[in-house]
């Protein structure tokens, strides 16, 4: 018990800067876009004018989505390959823990941090809406955040996977950025050959923003993409298993 506490403590100390940084970024983006909603909504040149709930839905499909993906990618960085580059891996790996334990704790803590980050819009959006004299149902924000979290799992484990063989912080960030860009744009290319990909669950951007579930008239979400969540969990499981296998077989 005491031993595993040390494991968690080290993992937390190494990830806390990234966590607090991304927390501040999420709060800023979610809060600022709502506080600036009068100006933000006026940019939509529409008749009838855009409603506040529609505006919030756009936020979840736009700025918040990008910030969220960047945040979970950052949370997935670090780990033993990074330590190898920094020169501390030999010390870490001669402590009485299995490599698998380091991976499990890192993944669990990262998911907890991602869950907390996902709650930021749930609290920030309704609160900031009140400040500007509007209201937004907390449950709706919760549903959008749930989608962010569910899709975030795949981005997070993608980052964990890349960091199992890329020790350099910049190379891991660059690889994460490229793969995220691919996840967001691949469907556009695939659509040219397979039109059914357009709004399928393979489209991460559409999944994150709840495109298939969104009532465009009200800007509210109806339902929950269970099939997509199951697919994401399966893919995340495969990525985590592969990452652990890479770390266990690697020489340090």
């Amino acid at each position: 018990m005491i031993r595993s506490k040390a494991l968690w403590r080290k993992t937390w100390l190494e990830s806390r800067a990234r966590f607090f940084g991304t927390l501040a970024m999420m709060m800023f983006v979610a809060g600022w876009d709502i506080l600036d909603s009068a100006h933000g909504m006026s940019r939509f040149d529409r008749t009838p004018p855009i409603t506040f709930t529609q505006y919030v839905a756009y936020l979840f499909q736009g700025n918040l989505q990008w910030v969220w993906v960047a945040s979970v990618l950052l949370l997935g960085l670090g780990g033993l390959a990074r330590e190898d580059r920094l020169g501390t891996a030999q010390f870490t790996l001669t402590l009485p823990f299995r490599r698998r334990q380091w991976m499990q704790v890192r993944a669990t803590l990262g998911l907890l941090q991602a869950a907390i980050l996902a709650l930021v819009p749930v609290l920030t959006v309704p609160l900031a809406a009140r400040v500007v004299g509007r209201s937004y149902p907390i449950w709706e924000a919760f549903k959008f955040s749930g989608l962010l979290f569910a899709a975030g799992i795949i981005f997070f484990f993608g980052a964990v996977f890349r960091s199992s063989f890329l020790g350099g912080e910049f190379s891991a960030i660059a690889a994460s950025g490229i793969s995220a860009l691919f996840a967001f744009t691949a469907q556009d290319y695939l659509y040219r050959w397979i039109p059914s990909f357009r709004f399928s669950y393979f489209n991460m951007s559409a999944f994150l923003g709840g495109n298939e579930l969104l009532d465009r008239a009200t800007g509210l979400l109806g339902g929950w993409p269970w099939a997509g969540v199951v697919k994401i969990l399966c893919a995340a499981g495969v990525l985590f298993w592969t990452s652990t296998a890479i770390i266990e077989r690697r020489d340090f």
Binding site: A6, Q90, F91, T94, L95, P96, R98, E248, F252
Partner: protein
């Protein structure tokens, strides 16, 4: 190997090999480190010392062969955890978590070892003059080495494995390191360390292993080295008969004009008698140090 003999060995490897692509870093290594010894692991750079140590600790996976440390198989990860609970290790790369202070890293490591010796920790911290509130990233290389030593020596370990521990230490620090190693051994721990400092080995080691190009090329008790190794100079009236000195115990020989010099490992009486029988007019027998044995071993390997 008989079971009773095996139980006295703290480190044992049989045919241990590590291959990186087409190159063997370690090849067919049979190593036997007896319990309670201070064993030095010597060899030129790239000879396979660090790779061997990394395999013993489970940091690198052997390509072939088997190894046991403290009776536990190094290829079994669960067994490696049991090994790590009983060893203190200071690696070649002594970098520690830069974001932790000296106190924090001690607080972090201490609960992981049930036999942690708090008194030894305090004593070593004082001896090495380690300031508890200093961040690890602010420590000099020498101070980092000292902190790594505290973290290894306070564990209440059965085996200490050091990979070039004196690197980065000033002479006073190197002296403290040797004292700490001898103290650990006198407390019952086995010490296995790699180094390039042969003078240190001569002072504290009771067993020496020499690696070259991934192979173990020499192993002996230091006492045997001191007792058996000699440099013998034979002077002849005529040309030195180098080709007639093929006799047991002659490790290497060189002839220059009237003088024949050789390094002998045991069989000294017979060698000197043989020299005299060949017509040597003077025989000069000198003890040689480990440095010469080391260099002779490597040059023999090269030739």
């Amino acid at each position: 190997m008989p079971a009773s003999k095996r139980s006295e060995l703290v480190i044992e490897t049989y045919g241990l090999s590590k291959k990186y692509r087409d190159t063997f870093a370690v090849r067919d290594l049979d190593l036997a480190v007896p319990a309670g010894s201070i064993s030095a692991f010597l060899g030129p750079n790239g000879s396979g010392k660090t790779t061997t140590i990394r395999m013993l600790l489970g940091l690198a996976h052997p390509t072939a062969g088997v190894g046991r440390v403290l009776g536990q198989a190094i290829s079994d990860e669960a067994a490696c955890i049991r090994i790590r609970l009983r060893i203190g290790y200071v690696g070649e790369d002594k970098r520690l978590y830069g974001y932790m202070t000296v106190r924090e890293i001690l607080d972090f490591v201490r609960p992981l070892y049930p036999n942690w010796n708090r008194d030894r920790e305090r004593a070593l911290q004082e001896r090495f003059d380690l300031q508890p509130d200093r961040k690890c990233k602010k420590l000099s290389k020498g101070m980092r080495t000292k902190l790594a030593l505290v973290l290894a020596l306070a564990r209440g370990m059965d085996l200490l494995i050091f990979d070039e521990p004196g690197e980065g230490l000033d002479p006073a620090g190197a002296e403290q390191l040797l004292e700490a190693m001898v103290e650990a051994a006198s407390d019952g721990a086995t010490v296995f360390f790699s180094t390039h400092q042969i003078s240190e080995v001569e002072r504290i080691a009771d067993r020496v292993f020499i690696m070259n190009r991934g192979r173990l090329v020499f192993q002996s008790a230091m006492e045997e080295v001191r007792k058996n190794y000699r440099r013998i100079h034979f002077s002849f009236m005529g040309r030195a008969p180098a080709n007639q000195m093929n006799i047991d115990g002659v490790e290497s020989l060189s002839a220059e004009g009237h003088v024949l010099s050789l390094v002998a490992n045991g069989n000294l009486e017979r060698i000197t008698q043989h020299g005299r029988a060949l017509g040597a007019v003077s025989v000069d027998v000198q003890p040689i140090g480990l440095r010469e044995v080391f260099l002779e071993t490597l040059s023999k390997e090269r030739s």
